[in-house]
Assembly symmetry: C2
Homo-oligomer: 125 residues x 2
Amino acid sequence: MRIGELAAATGVSVRALRYYEEQNLLTSCRSRSGQRHYPDSAADRVRLIQELYAAGIPSRKIAELLPCIETGEITPALLDRLTAERDRIDGRIHELIATRDRLDAAIDAAANAMRQGVPCPRPKA
Amino acid sequence: MRIGELAAATGVSVRALRYYEEQNLLTSCRSRSGQRHYPDSAADRVRLIQELYAAGIPSRKIAELLPCIETGEITPALLDRLTAERDRIDGRIHELIATRDRLDAAIDAAANAMRQGVPCPRPKA
DNA sequence: CTAAAAGCTGACGTTGACGTCAGGGGCAAA
DNA sequence: TTTGCCCCTGACGTCAACGTCAGCTTTTAG
């Protein structure tokens, strides 16, 4: 699989895939002309990388944690970092839930206000 | 309340408070010499701003949504944006939960592996 | 009164995950 | 063989939420 195909398969840009390689998140074997080739499993790896990025984990930590998550490679220190990251995400989940609830409250209040006869600011003239 | 006091009260930097004003998230009345003064309620507003930033909402949208959230000011269009933002956050919550679960699985697997006798990579020499 | 502490306005620096452009190969179809 | 698409490596651009520094005025503590 070449880089364009992997990009199409995962929905991430070619540039991003090269960036992942630069950050040691993804490896490729090169043909003699220098073109990157990937195994089919690369698509899952890329999706995992995206998931971790989306969780707010920076490249450096993803690089640390990836082998552990994918292949189960582990040391006590790594387990600590993995757990720390898990807890950080858990914290953010709770923050986001609090914020969502706050928005829900605002939405409810707004809906009530609109039912009570403040349907729309009066159009000018 | 002056800017330094508000910063101390909320834990955000003076620079950040000036930035919020620049982004129309926060207003202040100025003394004749130009110094900013805030009412006590500003602390809550700042904390709300931080909460929304933490939820990944950019300045522009915060500026749109803040009056609605704080004072209940509303229009149908605003209600739509508020709801859209709520749904976005809800989506991110579910993504994060999935990621957390994935890390939990990796942690469990790692813990099992370590119990099974791969406690630590052998120290060299 | 004086010196430190706090405020003010620019304005440039930072960080991360890419976007984008320049300039140059390589390879299958027609 | 040419055409056209895909690939390559730099290297600079971007965006957001501030950090930081310069240079100057204001307020406050002693």
